[in-house]
Amino acid sequence: MYAFDIERPSTIADAVTALQGEDAQALGGGQTLIPTLKQRLAAPSKLVSLSGIGEMQGVCVGDDGAVCIGGATTHATVSREAAAHYPGLAALASHIGDPAVRNRGTIGGSLANNDPAACYPAAALASGATIVTNNREIAADDYFQGMFATALDEGEVITEVRFPVPQAANYQKFLQPASRFALVGVFVAKYADGVRVAVTGASENGVFRWAEAEAAFSADFSASALDGLTVDADGMIADLHGSGAYRAHLVSVNTKRAVEAAS
């Protein structure tokens, strides 16, 4: 690591101020950022830890029924506290990494990082979530902009994420054998006005919605509705763990399984 200063503000306002400084960077659970620093792949002059900000912690239900999760809420907390309100989301959180990762890593950090194999982006996109920051609200459809790219501006902090609760949902994660991130993950969410399907792990452009599957499921929410539908292997990630064709195939498999398991 290179040397850096650290601040631990207790309000969002103080955090935003602290992040104004040159080369300042927000620190969530550090599960991505700390390894990056250890490898000397980043050199922030100052880290602003969000973990002491009470208003960014915890899970609650908004007036409109949406599940609202503070931006600094850990995966472990989501898996416990969202279970009664949005079981599909809680189940996703409970399968991120290992207990140590879940006890530190946060939803804000995960969404800000937007790793192409991360789990939360699929849930946020499939739920039509709203990413709330210190100065605006961003619809999930506008938020994800490709691998590791998001609509966030420099110094902008995710303070909350609001998930409209679907009638039924499920996340199917096929593990990359080494990292146990998603080799392909598919989140299916059924709302009164239609079904949303978001795919993570597969595309070179990061998380995406599978429009054909959404249309098919909106007409018939059953696995057989997917028969004959596939995603194009072009543009899928190809690496040591699987070809583009394999990932494209897993998109179909996981999507079917998610519909079958949706509750």
Binding site: A3, P177, A178, S179, L183, H241, G242, Y246, V253
Partner: protein, 788 residues
């Protein structure tokens, strides 16, 4: 009733108390006053000419003590290879210099290019970033077959080619084997890859070099499986330090699996630099460094042909292997694909004619050397896979085909130069059929099919040669060291015992099992006996722990030393009891005169040895301490039969292991619990190789599985509960304990059964898949299914 102490009992491992409570003392726990830290600048390209290295800016940075480059090591020796292999044509292998720090040329990603010694590690790292390298990159030599072709870029310009050696074994059999294959009723051919692995012990390597000007003494604290071997190799070949001026200490070591046998550049560096800067120098490997500097394992590309007569009797076997050496020869690298591999090609079968050809290749990759099993897993894998394929081609039961060809009479001289002293392959196979419930497989398959899964059963046998080895034989084969071991049994005045052993325990539980042997011999409680290991200044000598040799070789030395102690103690007892030593018996810690009720306790005899007031001083010396060196008469030959049952998800290609059973013959067993643990760990690593682990380079020589994000280690939930059995015991005939060694069996015996099981599952699903290269990841299985 199971015993509760001595040989055959299963006391819990005493060392676990400190390991599990954080009280272990590892090399990284050693911090010495005035210590400095070294950060190695490592190559990030695979192959390049070093035009210049400018360290001037770096040297001026805060906290920098000294910066070393290859030029500083020009005068010292290279890291030596411990085994000279002679090729098919009678020529010695090509043996390039392996510099401590790259000099002139970079030959693999991760090679040390410069070393910054600093007051703190971060300062050393900061300075390393200011070193300016001027490199001219060269094409990387990665693919072994391409490396062997004329006109290939050479890894070492001063060698004639990238072929380290082209080895034939037994060369005189070459024509006869060719003929037998031509004449055979049936020949089964299989081409396969034995995947490259990274050992990944939990504790990364660490070295702390120390130098004392007052007595010109060098000390190296290091994470080693064999401190005396390091002293020998580094002292004699690299740095020119005589043994009495060099102490090597390997305290608690957190796993080795072979990769901590070898003498590494970092050890020589820290020892050398400690004198040069006249301060202790410490290096602690990061996990990233471990991936690109610990010797890797396996990496063979093989074609094997098995010939049979019309009745399915094996008539001949021919195998051709390209074995990756990496960029330089690591300590035992040359012996692994030859003497530890070719000699095992007979397996458990009486194939009369065998020919093994191995081309060892230099490539621009990390050196490859022994990893749990070393050569024997590679031999077992190809043999047991080709037999399985043959059974399918011939439409016979794979177990029956094996049985039909088993060696049944012992001793058995194989056509590949070794003689199996004992064994009973039928017994372990029968035991396997019982514990694996092979008879119930069909029903389990039906059950799996109901759930949409393909179920497969894979079986294999294995044999290994352990307890390496008779020194005169290995000397003829090219070993540059003897392979005996040594132990000193030091009896203290009050009767407690310290045993100084040359074996090194880094997970094997010697501190528990070795005292069980002494306790059995003398009849005193195990807690009166301690094992001392891992320090050249404390133990007589030792070749260390690898190749499942600790108990078979060092344990035998300990028995011999204990016998000497007992003989002397009997003389003392005879004096005290006023009897003749021939009449003295030792049982349960009491010396008695045969046929009488006269006796004296162990503790009284040992006290007499140190307080010799009433003592036969004219005949024997005071004190009670004996040393023995033991050189085995032969290898030991553990063997067994393994079965694996898998389910394959036809939609995704994902393999899950549902059952795994191992029936091993380890000869006599000292501590059954520890033996089971060794088998468990070995199977985990074997399954890891079969399903998960893959060390991969791209064509530019970049390691693309350079962290746990891409290198898949087996985890608990990847593995089933195993059924292991070692009740089939044919004791080794030539060592005093009748033991054979159990450390590697699991890693040797498990990969073929996993692959055999997956092929069986796919075939049951109508897929014409005859082979898939390891690791059988979901994507590879799915690809195989969809291309079949």
């Amino acid at each position: 009733m199971p015993k509760d102490s001595g040989i055959g009992a299963s006391p819990k491992r005493r060392e676990d108390l400190r390991f599990l409570t954080g009280a272990g003392k590892y090399t990284d726990d050693i911090n010495i006053h005035g210590q400095t830290y070294v950060h190695f600048l490592r190559a990030d390209v695979a192959h390049a000419t070093i035009n210049s290295i400018d360290t001037s800016a770096a040297a001026a940075m805060p906290g920098v003590v000294h910066i070393f480059t290859g030029a500083d090591f020009e005068a010292v020796g290279g890291i030596p290879c411990g085994w000279q292999v002679t090729d098919r044509f009678g020529e010695p292998m090509q043996e390039p210099k392996h510099p401590v720090i790259a000099h002139g040329t970079i030959r693999h990603v991760g090679e040390i290019v410069a070393a910054v010694v600093g007051e703190t590690l971060e300062q050393a790292r900061d300075a390393a970033e200011a070193i300016v390298l001027d490199l001219t990159e060269k094409p990387a030599v990665i693919d072994m077959k391409a490396a062997a072709a004329d006109g290939s870029t050479k890894v070492h310009d001063d060698l004639t080619s990238n072929i380290c050696y082209d080895w034939g074994f037994v060369e005189e059999n070459r024509d006869a084997v060719d003929q037998a294959i031509k004449d055979a009723a049936h020949v089964t051919t299989l081409e396969l890859v034995n995947n490259r692995l990274v050992a990944n012990p939990m504790e990364p390597r660490v070295a702390v070099g120390e130098y004392s000007r007052s007595d010109d003494m060098h000390t190296l604290h290091t994470t080693s499986q064999n401190p005396h071997v390091i002293r020998l190799l580094m002292g004699a070949f690299v740095l020119g330090i005589p043994e009495h001026k060099l102490r090597v200490v390997a305290p608690d070591v957190g796993g080795g699996f072979g990769t901590k046998i070898f003498h590494y550049a970092e050890e020589a560096f820290c020892t050398f630099a400690a004198k040069a800067v006249n301060r202790p120098v410490k290096w602690t490997s990061t996990r990233s460094e471990a991936f690109m500097s610990d010797a890797h394992g396996r990496d063979h590309v093989t074609k094997i042909e098995l010939a049979m007569d019309a009745d399915n009797n094996f008539t001949a076997l021919r195998t051709e292997t390209y074995a990756n050496m990496g960029a330089y020869l690591s300590t035992f690298a040359s012996s692994v694909p030859t003497w530890l591999h070719g000699t095992l090609m007979a397996g458990n079968y009486k194939t009369p004619l065998i020919y093994v050809n191995v081309k060892a290749m230099f490539t621009n990759t990390v050196p490859v050397d022994a990893y749990r099993g070393a050569g024997r897993p590679e031999a077992t894998f190809q043999l047991e896979r080709v037999i399985d394929k043959a059974a399918r081609e011939r439409g016979v039961d794979p177990i029956a085909l094996r049985r039909q060809n088993f060696v049944t009479e012992f001793p058995y001289a194989t056509p590949v130069a070794v003689e199996y002293d004992t064994g009973d392959y039928e017994a372990t196979m029968a035991k396997l059929e019982e514990i694996a419930d092979i008879g119930g497989f069909a029903a389990r398959r039906t059950e799996s099919e109901k759930n949409g899964k393909l179920r497969g059963l894979g079986v294999n046998c294995y044999i290994e040669a352990c307890g390496i080895a008779p020194s005169n034989l290995v000397g003829q084969l090219g070993a540059r060291a003897g392979l005996y071991d040594a132990a000193t049994v030091r009896v203290n005045a009050t009767g407690s015992i310290s045993v100084m052993v040359g074996a090194h325990s880094h997970g094997q539980g010697h501190e528990t099992s070795f005292p069980q042997v002494i306790s059995e011999m003398i009849g005193i409680p195990e807690d009166q006996i301690d094992i001392v290991h891992g320090d050249t200044s404390k133990i007589p000598f030792g070749m260390g722990t690898y190749g499942s040799r600790s108990l078979a070789v060092c344990g035998s030395a300990m028995v011999r030393a204990a016998e000497k102690v007992i003989n002397k103690a009997k003389k003392i007892a005879a004096h005290l009891l006023e009897a003749s030593d021939a009449d003295i018996e030792l049982k349960d810690g009491q010396f008695s005169v045969a046929g009488t009720d006269k006796s004296v306790a162990w503790g009284d005899v040992t006290l007499a040895a140190y307080v010799p007031h009433n003592y036969p001083l004219e005949d024997i010396e005071p004190g009670l301490e004996e040393t023995a060196f033991y050189d085995p008469a032969n290898f030991t030959y553990p063997a067994g039969a393994y079965a694996c049952e898998v389910e394959v998800d036809p939609d995704t290609g994902k393999v899950t292991i549902e059952r795994f059973s191992a029936a091993d013959d380890f000869g006599n067993v000292i501590n059954p619990m520890i033996v089971s643990g060794q088998v468990h760990g070995g199977i985990a690593q074997g399954v890891g190789q079969a399903l998960l682990e893959n060390c991969a380079y791209d064509e530019d020589g970049q390691l693309i599985s350079a962290s746990y994000m891409d290198y898949a280690m087996p985890r608990a939930d990847d593995l089933p509960f195993y059924t292991v059995d070692h009740s089939c015991q044919t004791p080794c005939t030539h060592n005093p304990l009748g033991v054979k060694g159990c450390g590697e069996a699991g890693a040797i015996g498990s990969p073929p059964s996993v692959v055999n099981a997956v092929v069986d599952a796919l075939q049951s699903g109508g897929k014409n898949v005859t082979h898939i290269d390891m690791p059988l990841t979901p994507s590879r299985v799915w690809d195989a299914m969809n291309n079949a």
